[in-house]
Every structure is written in C-alpha cells, then in structure tokens.
C-alpha cells in the first residue's frame, strides 16, 4: 500500500507539471497586455513599460515559465500585487473558510444524497422515484447563484430562521486564530463555556444555507449514482443468496447492498470535490464568505495574475490528493482491489 501511495504521488508530478504549462500559457495567451490591464485606461507608455519590467513580461515566454517553475519548486507561488505578500501564505489564511464550507456541503450532499438515492431505488420506476429524479434535475440545473439568493430570501428574509450570509454574527467579534470558525469558537479567550457554545451554534447556523447551495449539485449527482448503484447491486446474485439465507431485509440492504453500492458513490464523491472547489467561487460571493473562492474572484478582477495562476494550481493539487485518498478508501472498501 505504501508503495502504491508513493507511486501515485510520483504520478501526480507530471500531471501538475503539465497543468502548470497549460495554466501559464492560458494566462499569457489571453488577449491583452497584463501591464495595460493593471494600469488601465489612461496610463502613460512609460508606466506601462515599467510595469512590464516589474512583471518580467519582457523576457521570452519560456524564460518566464522557467522562472515561475523554479519558484514553484522552491515553494514560491509568487506574490500578490495587492499586498506583495507570498501567495501561499495568503491562500492558507483563507483556505480554512473554504474547507469548512466544502466539508459542510459534502456532509449535506452525502448525508442527504445517499438516503435519497436508496429511497428512489426502493421505489424504482414508481412515483417517489420520479419525484427524486425531478428534484435532482432541479439541483443540477438551478445555478448556484440563483439557489443561494433564493435560499437567503426564504430562510433568512422571510422565515428568519437562519442567517443569510457570512461565517458568524459580526457582533460576536470572534477572534480568528485557526480561521476555522467552528474551532475558534472554542478557543476564544475570555468567553464562558455557554458563550462558546453559542458562538459554535451560530457558526453552524451560518454554514447551513451556503452548504445547501454549494452541495446541491453534488447532492443531485450522488443521489443519481446511489440510485443506479443500489438498483444494480440489488439484482446481483449474492443479494438473492442473502435472501435465500433468510436474512432480514434491513441486513440485506445495509450490508449486502450498501457495502457494494458504496463503491461507485465513493469514486463520485472524490470527483465532486473538484466541482465543490469551483462552486465555492460563486457560493462565497453570494454568502459573503471570506474563502479562497472569493479571493480568486477578487484576484481576477484585480488582474492579480500570480494569485490566479497559483491558486488554480493548488486547487489541482488538492483535487489530486483528495482523489488519491478516495482511491485508498476505495481499496479498503473493496477487498477485490489491493494496490500492490
């Protein structure tokens, strides 16, 4: 297993390398001179020349790429134009917010998607199955942006049962230490236990709507995959064997069907992480969520090239790592696969 992990990690290197070339080329081949873009409408030729020099844009593209790559290999992802700080540090400061949101969205998508998929499979081809199908199509087709605003309007503005946006009530003035709100609530100095509990609960309440908005697409996909997988597994011979042995339906369902039906679902969950990171860009904007996604939006608006380039690369790295973890989990769930 260790050998397998090492091999997978090594295998990720050419992927990242190739991706860095594509990203670099993409960013440098889009029309427009970054220096002009940064300086704007009425910049003088001299200022543009200075900016080009500062950005290193006068070097040939391969030289620029090698410089960038050399930096990457030393853990230098470049600096943000906005504050001249290393991109990696800025990324890590915002990442916990995105992680918190993504995990919450995944819990929602998996926690609801799997039972819903099982429910649909149980009533396959009958009306509850049709209803779930319609719901999941809605989940896929409603833009996250629209869904987010609609959820806010219904649950925050009209019903007033959940907060509309941000990570925690600003009036609590929580000290951010780890940048995980749900952890920092317990670390806040000078709060009584009850106050910590209140802050934690407030943080969880703030997670609900963005998690639903972000989780809607994975939810729909996980529901569909679970349904299909359960139906397929339910027709397997070993399920008939389990029935012939006189096992209860509950046991057949939970052990014989689900243990197998999980496998494709687990793979899909890994792939959805990529979608979640992309969805976070929009969700964080709608919910005033100070995470990496919104940072990229701002960076694109500010033509903060190193931030855009490096963050996407880090996202790719995370995506590869998550899928490695998923594959390892898959191996544990499926004894037929043993990576040597």
């Amino acid at each position: 297993m260790t050998k397998y992990i090492v091999r997978r990690l090594l295998g990720a290197i050419p992927v990242l390398f190739g991706l860095s070339i594509v990203l670099f080329a993409f960013i440098h081949l889009i029309p427009g001179d970054p220096a002009t873009a940064i300086l704007g409408q009425h910049a003088t030729a001299q200022r543009i020349a200075e900016m080009r020099e500062y950005l290193g844009l006068d070097d040939p593209l391969p030289v620029q790429y090698v410089d960038y790559l050399a930096g990457l290999l030393q853990g230098d992802f470049g600096r943000s134009f906005i504050n001249n700080q290393p991109v990696l540090g800025e990324f890590l400061r915002r990442f916990p917010a995105t992680v918190e949101l993504t995990i919450a969205a995944m819990i929602f998508a998996v926690g609801v998607g799997i039972p819903l998929g099982r429910f649909a499979a149980r009533y396959a081809q009958r009306w509850p199955d049709g209803a779930v199908t319609v719901l999941s199509l809605l989940g896929i087709s409603i833009p996250v942006f629209v869904l987010g605003l609609t959820l806010q309007y219904i649950f925050a503005v009209q019903l007033k049962v959940l907060p509309a946006s941000s990570r925690i009530d600003a009036r609590l003035q929580l000290d951010l230490q780890t940048n995980f709100v749900l952890i920092d609530a317990w670390l806040h100095a000078g709060w009584t236990f009850d106050e910590k509990v209140d802050a934690f609960v407030d943080g969880v309440r703030h997670l609900v709507l963005p998690a639903i908005a972000l989780g809607s697409i994975p939810l729909a996909i996980i529901t569909r995959i679970t349904r299909a997988s359960v139906i397929e597994v339910a027709n397997e011979d070993y399920v008939r064997t389990a029935r012939a042995k006189g096992l209860t339906e509950r046991r057949i369902d939970g052990r014989h069907i689900m243990r197998n039906a999980w496998l494709p679902v687990v793979t899909v969950i890994g792939l959805q992480v990529g979608g979640l990171l992309a969805g976070a860009v929009i969700t964080e904007t709608v919910f005033a969520w100070n995470g990496v996604g919104r940072w990229i939006v701002d960076a694109i608006g500010n033509r903060d090239y190193f931030v855009v380039q490096s963050t996407i690369l880090i996202f790719a790295l995370i995506f590869l790592m998550v899928n490695l973890i998923v594959d390892i989990a898959y191996a544990f769930l499926n004894p037929r696969i043993r990576y040597a």
Binding site: P31, G40, N83, Q152, A156, V157, S166, D169, A170
Partner: protein, 568 residues
C-alpha cells in the same frame, strides 16, 4: 483606472435620517454648524435625542486594500479611512465641493498662487497619543514626496503620482502650528485634492513603528494591518482588519473635537461582494447599513417600509456618448447637435438604471465647484431631423462602437444601451454602422487614439473637481503621440480659447476667478457640443430604520461620528 476610485457618487443631497427626502436639493438641507467648525452637528430632528452606544455593521462591496491611507486609490479603503484619518482640509458634510478646515484652522494663499500656508489646530493628538503639529504634517508630505519606488511599481501610489508629486514642491515648518506648502505651479484644484483620503495625516511615530517606508513592502506593517496601522486623529480608531472579511473600528474617546465625538462604540465594515445578497442580509437584520446597492436592489428598498433608502442625489461619474470630430460627418456642428437632440436620455435611465441616475446637463456631475446648468439639448427627434437638413450633409453613415465584454458603474449594460441609442439615431435618419471590440486592450487603445467616430465611454472621477472631468477626462490639451502639445486625440476637439479658460482656472489663486474661468470653459463646450454627456448614475445606499444621523454625500465622503442607533 484599475479599481473604482473613491468617487463613485456625487452631489449634495440633504437627506437625513428620519426624513425620507428624495429629489435632492443642490445644497444640504440642514447644516446647523457654524462655518469653520470642523464637522457639523448631525442633522437630527430636534425631538430626537441622539443616544450613545452600540456597534454599527456596515456592508461594503469590497475589501479595503491596505491600512495606509497614502497608499490607496479605491472607494472601499477611502470609505473606512474617512472615519479614522483626517486631513488639513475636508469636505463639508453633505457637500461635494465646499472645502472646510479640519486639522488646520485656516489657510492663506500667496499672491503668486504658489504657496499655501496653513495655521494648524492645537491640542490634537493621534490615536497613539503623540501630538499632531507642523512637524507631523511635514513628515507626512515629505514621505509622500519620497515614497519608495517599489510602492509606485506595485501601483499603490496613484494619488501621490497624479495629485501630489507633480504638484507639491516642498513643505516648510514655520512654527509648531504653521506649515507652508509650496507648489511647483499654480493649481486652484490643490485644496480640493487635499480633501482626499491619501492626503490625510498619519502619526509619524506610528509610520516609523510600522516601517511605512520600508522598500520591501512585505515588511511594512503599517499598511498591512499590523503594528501602527491606520493611526490618525479621527473620531474612530482602527482596531482590526481581517483581509477579505471585515475591518473593525472603535470609538476614539479622546477625540479632539469633543462636541463631535462619535456616538457609536464601534463600526464593523463587512465585505459583501454581491448586491442582492447584501439586500437579503439587510432585510434579515444582519447588517445595519449598506454603502452601495445595485439600482434594482435600491428600487426594492424604496418599496420596503422596514428599511430606509438613502439617495445621494448623484455620483462622481459621467456616461458620455463620445464623438471624435476629425471623423465625418462629426466635423459639422449641426450634426453633433442633431445627435444630442436624437438620444432619449431619460428613457435609457429608466430602462437600464432602474431610474437611479440623473440626466447630464454638463460634462461633469451636478454639485461640483463652478457647475452651471448648460441647458443642453434634450430629446427632440424633429429638431434633430431639422438640424440634419440644415447641415446639408448627405452622407449620414459612420461607425458606432461599443465595448463587448464589460460593465461599468456609469454603463451597466453597454450592448443594451448601445442598441437603444442606435435606434434613436436611426429614427432621425442617421445611418450608424454597429461595431464592437473587447474592452481591453482593443477598445480602449483605439478610442484613446481617436480611431472611433462615435462610441460609448465614461469617466469615474479621481476627485470631485471640474478639472478632473473637463480637463483630465475629456478636453484638456496634453502631450500628443507626435510629441506636440494640443487637443486630446481621443476627441479631436480643438478650441484654443476653451483651453485657455481651463488653464487660467487652474492657475489663479482666487476661487472666484477660478469659478469664472471654469464657467467660461463650460460655455464653450455647450456651444461646440464636442460630445453628448448622457447621465450620472447614483448607486443608492440603504439602512435600518433605527440608524439615525447619517449625512449622505455623493462623493462618498460620509462620516459616521454623527450616526447613532435608536432603540429597536
């Protein structure tokens, strides 16, 4: 302009809390403070007694960029720093153009208009407890004049570069309470520019503590929310900045002007990038005040009795149907006037701005220094047709351009607005040929080089002065690409008398004279119709009903020391 400069909004509006004033009057409705007072009393109805305490949660559309007021050029940073920092002069609350003393008590201008001598206020302390005095002023101006080159390369010094380093020659301490600022050339816009946040005075001790002039910006904590950050003299003190999330200010209990000390215990400025989401948070009661909403969301607030809509009356921008008169048929005055009569500005405001804009009657927004109503052509297709007939021009075809991939505060829907204008032009007999290009770099470089006969563009101000619109943005003579000095190639508008009037206005030491010259220039423009100014958009603000004492300002120079929270 990389980011939106401060002045997103403009013009005096007298609205105040409690009074749902719309239909802005050009002068503040109520400014009871005697002239010369640093800040006027809040305009609160007499029966309401302001109440101290509470924290105000304010939504901003974006984060501040840095915590050094000298190194910013965006409206979000400026909005926050206006609460913490103060300059020698400031804008009178509610006014876009009236300059009042703040950290100075008074000033004199030398006969040659080159030296401005400020008498400073005494007994003022910075938030770090050090004294404000003439040395502190000189320290700040000297720092700006000698700001590290690296900061300029990082594009942090826009305002220092355009409005200070070419303008100020030297600063002399005459006494602890008097400084003299010598300019490189006469400049009647100098005082106006000194009301901008980048020219507010920081504590020298804090600047040193925070390594504010370290050539490696990464070491500069003053500008990045660390040691020393944002240390001024204002009614609020900087407490915390969580980048991307919020800035927290707290009340300055030792404010030098005790009668105008803040009522609020503190302010939290939170970043809300999406307007509709901001509106939801406001309606859900999570925020107390939002600095900006989209026009359509502003309309929603107007219909919501549980919130107050705040109309700033105008804004610091102008949408311009631009003409280059070196292209036929626009060399003909009657044709340019015909275009002005052909377009229905109000219909465009209603369709694309949800009514949240004002029709332009000048090449700058209303409320500016020297602004006069020019009674420019209004929608009259018959008149347009008559002018075309009179002109004798028979070839009425020309290229008409719009940018394909951009939205600006003054131009939210370029394609839609283009099509509306196109229909208006065709209706009177013009044969425009629709053309489009991507904003950067094609469109901007072509229009700046004078390649387009007719096109859509606008201007968001750097500061609320006539010079910034009439000269900088539009018709001031300048270095041309062939190294001669002359008309802006963008518009190809040559009128030496008009330029002389502008130049005179900038060089006089008398405000009265300056006003006279600027108005002369405006008359030339009205007569020559070098482009068709369309409108100024006015992004609205909104607040909870219990937010009292707020004084709106179209320049977004809005001070929260007068704001208080009623019981709710």
């Amino acid at each position: 302009m990389r980011r939106t400069r401060f002045g997103v909004l403009l013009v005096a509006a007298g609205l105040l809390v409690g009074a749902c004033t719309t239909g802005a009057s050009p002068t503040p409705a109520a400014t009871p403070a005697p002239t010369g007072a640093a800040t006027p009393a809040p305009t609160t109805a007499p029966e309401e007694t302001p109440k101290a305490g509470g924290t105000l949660i304010v939504a901003l559309p974006g984060d501040i960029s840095r915590t050094d007021s000298a190194l910013i050029d965006d409206s979000n940073s400026s909005y926050v720093m206006n609460q913490v920092m103060e300059g020698l002069v400031g804008l009178k609350p509610g006014s876009a153009s009236e300059v009042i003393p703040v950290l100075s008590e008074s000033w004199t201008i030398s006969e040659d208009a080159l030296t401005y001598t400020f008498k400073l206020r005494t007994g003022v302390k910075f938030h770090d407890g050090t004294d404000f005095n003439a040395d502190a002023v000189k320290f700040n101006y000297d720092r700006w004049l000698n700001i590290p080159d690296a900061y300029s390369k990082l594009e942090y010094t826009y305002y220092l570069d355009v409005a200070l380093r070419p303008v100020v020659d030297s600063v002399t301490v005459n006494s602890p309470t008097e400084v003299a600022i010598k300019l490189t050339a006469p400049n009647s816009a100098f005082l106006t520019t000194q009301t901008l946040v980048p020219f507010f005075i920081s504590s020298p001790a804090a600047l040193e503590l925070g390594k504010a002039s370290d050539p490696d910006f990464a070491n500069n904590t003053y500008a990045q929310g660390g040691a020393g950050a944002m240390t001024g003299t204002g009614p609020f003190k900087f407490k915390e900045w969580v980048p991307g999330d919020h800035v927290t200010l707290e009340r300055n209990a030792d404010y030098w002007d005790a009668t105008h000390a803040a009522y609020l215990d503190g302010i939290v400025f939170r970043v809300f990038p999406d307007s509709t989401s901001t509106l939801n948070a406001l309606q859900a009661g999570e925020i107390d005040f939002t600095q900006t909403l989209s026009p359509i969301d502003g309309k929603t607030v107007e219909g919501d009795a549980t919130l107050q809509a705040i109309d700033r009356g105008g804004s610091c921008n102008l949408f311009n149907l631009s003409i280059n008169q070196t292209h036929k048929p626009f060399d003909n005055l009657k044709i340019r006037q015909a275009v002005a009569y052909a377009v229905n500005k109000q219909s465009i405001i209603d369709t694309f701005y949800a009514g949240q804009a004002v029709v332009a009657d000048n090449w700058m927004p209303p409320g500016f220094f020297s602004y006069k109503a020019l009674n420019l052509p209004t929608y009259d297709p018959e008149k347009a047709k008559a002018l075309i007939a009179e002109s004798g021009v028979t070839d009425l075809s020309f290229d008409f351009w719009y940018p394909s991939d951009v939205a600006r505060p003054y131009m939210p829907d370029p394609k839609g607005e283009f099509e509306a204008i196109l229909r208006d032009l065709e209706a009177v007999g013009f044969k425009p040929n629709p053309k489009t290009a991507t904003w950067r770099p094609d469109y901007l470089s072509a229009e700046a080089g004078g390649d387009y006969p007719l096109w859509l563009i606008g201007w968001t101000c750097d500061w609320a002065g006539p010079d910034n619109f009439l000269s900088t943005a539009f018709f001031g003579y300048r270095e041309r690409s062939d190294n001669t000095f002359g008309p802006n190639e963008e518009f190809g508008y040559k009128n030496d008398a008009m330029w002389q009037a502008m130049d005179n206005a900038l060089k006089t030491n008398s405000l009265d004279k300056a006003k006279e010259y600027w108005q002369q220039a405006q008359d030339f423009l009205a007569a020559d119709m070098p482009s068709v100014p369309m409108l100024s958009s006015k992004p609205p603000a909104a607040a909870q009903l219990y937010v009292k004492g707020f004084v709106p300002n179209s320049t977004l120079t809005e001070l929260f020391n007068t704001v208080w929270l009623a019981d709710h």
